[in-house]
């Protein structure tokens, strides 16, 4: 589903964020991406959503090389990728319903279809009753779940999450990860970047570890090794 081939990324100014990263996340797989701050997690996710382009190497999604995607095609690529951010990226002056409906409005769904799908997505994250509220009235965990509902509302085959549990306590974090598991069981490929090692240890999923831009471990993290730092 996601394949990195010898990917390096050097930012203008010479800062090297990733060097020669190779990995492959299979369709329907769920994986964690970890490493301490500045290890290159965010950069890796940005290469997948084409917010950045690799300096060297290829990033492939479903066998398609992202290097050949032109600027005006990026919008269409992002419609296939559900993205969840630590900072939610919600529109604070729009209701929860409008926030979740945004991807569908952009894609031009009918009002009826939009309404049906938004309510289904809000149902999944348990926020159906708060559709008319503004995000500012919700708790941090609820805001994150609105972001998740927005990411999955158009049923993308691929879900990326950047520190989705960053501001949440362990119990709420677990709820969020359980949500991702639900989507994964429905066939969605999921890649979650997090530095919450405790969470990873409890989940027993494949874990990709970055250190200073290099992929140092790729495999099942059994929680015994906390050695990357």
């Amino acid at each position: 589903m996601i394949k990195f081939e010898q990917v390096s990324k050097t930012y203008p100014g010479g800062q090297r964020a990733l060097s020669k990263v190779n990995f492959h996340v299979a369709p329907g797989e769920m994986a964690f991406l970890t490493g301490h701050s500045g290890a290159g997690k965010s950069t890796l996710l940005k290469l997948i959503s084409i917010m950045e382009r690799p300096t060297v190497g290829r990033v492939l999604i479903n066998g398609h090389d992202l290097n050949v995607i032109k600027r005006r095609q990026i919008a269409y690529i992002r419609r296939d990728i559900g993205m969840i951010f630590q900072s939610h990226q919600l529109l604070m002056d729009k209701s929860v319903f409008d926030n979740v409906a945004l991807p569908l409005i952009i894609e031009g769904y009918t009002h009826k279809e939009t309404s049906r799908r938004v309510h289904a997505a809000l149902d999944m994250v348990g926020l159906r009753a708060k559709a008319r509220d503004l995000p500012i009235m919700l708790s941090g965990g609820e805001q994150q779940r609105v972001g998740i509902a927005r990411a999955v509302v158009n049923k993308p085959p691929l879900l990326l999450a950047d520190e989705p549990t960053g501001n949440l306590d362990p119990k709420l974090s677990m709820e969020i990860v359980r949500l991702f598991e639900d989507f994964n069981q429905a066939g969605v490929s999921v890649l979650i970047a997090t530095h919450d090692l405790g969470l990873i240890a409890r989940m027993r999923y494949r874990t990709l570890t970055l250190k200073d831009g290099c992929m140092i471990t790729d495999g099942l993290d059994d929680g015994s090794q906390e050695s990357y730092s």
Binding site: K46, S49, M51, I61, N62, H64, I69, R72, Q73, A75, Y76, I77, R78, R79, D80, M83, F85, Q89, L90, L91, L102, P103, I105, I106, E107, G108, Y109, T110, H111, E113, R150, N154, P157
Partner: protein, 326 residues
């Protein structure tokens, strides 16, 4: 259709709806975005009114000048009818041959009427009007020739036709000198040409400044919505989708500005009307300003909407591109 996942539907185009419904949905989306842009203007009344007023007043000035020039052309077209040809006859022409000339000229189809002014009458008139009456008494003989005033027929009043008629009249053996009294008219036309060019020039400069002002206003709008644009780009909005509300804002600025300009022109012309009437009465002429027709309104609205759209288009092309999620 998704670029990455073959067969994955993306949006209304691929979901199972008919062409008619797809088109209908596109129209609905446009109406919704158009109205929401209007709503945004409504929520910031002071800023919106100022922008619209700048646009409206900038169009008012060239429009008013244009209408005034057009009307002046119309009046002068009326004056042209009166253009007259003066024929000064040779000294040796006697009364009988003058009369013959008059009779001949009256048969010409180009000529509407002729008036004969004998040299003695002309001298008397000159003495009265010039104030040189006493000096004239010292003259041994009347220096003035007999004069025939020719008024061309309606078809021959244009400068070119009158000029041709003049050449023909000069061929007559009794005629010494012929003079066509249209020089002042040509000067007026020259002035009108300059005025027309001024209108174009002032209009052009003001239109450019309007485009820049609208562009800058839209730029500020874009910057104030930076977060929203970022989120929209993150969830897969195309540039065109993001541009649309701003283009609608430009459209509304243009439409409202055009209406203000129209109102302003009406008020200005109404205000000037009394002085124009007073001026026209000096010439014993009835004169009403025209030009505020439906087509003038449409032209002004069209122009104004175009300026609004061009301004916002330039701005969105430049500034939406600069906002990229990082």
């Amino acid at each position: 259709m998704s670029l990455l996942f073959k067969g994955r539907p993306q949006g209304a185009k691929d979901s199972r709806v008919g062409l008619v419904q797809t088109l209908f949905m596109i129209c609905v989306a446009h109406v919704r975005q158009g109205l929401s842009s209007l709503g945004e203007l409504w929520r910031q009344p002071v800023a919106s009114v100022m922008t619209v007023a700048v646009l409206g007043l900038s169009i008012t000035l060239p429009s008013t000048l244009y209408i005034l020039v057009k009307n002046t052309e119309k009046i002068s077209a009326g004056w042209e009818q009166a253009s007259e040809i003066s024929l000064f006859l040779k000294k040796e022409t006697n009364a009988a041959s003058s009369q013959q000339l008059l009779t001949r000229l009256k048969t010409w189809p180009e000529i509407d009427s002729v008036t004969f002014i004998p040299a003695d009458d002309a001298l008397k008139e000159f003495q009265q009007l010039s104030g040189l009456g006493d000096a004239m008494a010292y003259l041994e003989a009347n220096p003035l020739p007999d004069v025939v005033l020719v008024t061309p027929a309606e078809k021959y009043v244009t400068p070119a036709a009158a000029q041709r008629l003049l050449e023909k009249l000069k061929q007559q053996r009794e005629v010494d000198v012929g003079k066509l009294d249209i020089e002042w008219l040509e000067r007026l036309y020259g002035l009108l040409d300059i005025a027309r060019e001024l209108v174009t020039l002032i209009g052009g400069l003001l239109f450019i400044s309007v485009v820049l002002i609208i562009g800058n206003t839209i730029r500020l709008n874009i910057l104030s919505k930076k977060d929203e644009i970022l989120v929209m780009k993150l969830v897969g909005a195309t540039d065109a989708f993001i541009h649309r509300p701003f283009l609608y804002t430009g459209f509304w600025y243009g439409l409202l500005g055009g209406l203000i300009a129209w109102l302003a022109v009406i008020i200005i012309l109404w205000w000037m009307d009394s002085s124009i009437q007073a001026f026209a009465s000096l010439y014993q002429k009835e004169f009403n300003i025209t030009g505020l027709t439906g087509s003038a309104l449409l032209t002004m609205l069209g122009l104004s909407v175009t300026l609004g759209l061009v301004g916002s288009l330039i701005s969105v092309q430049r500034h939406v591109r600069e906002i990229e999620p990082k």
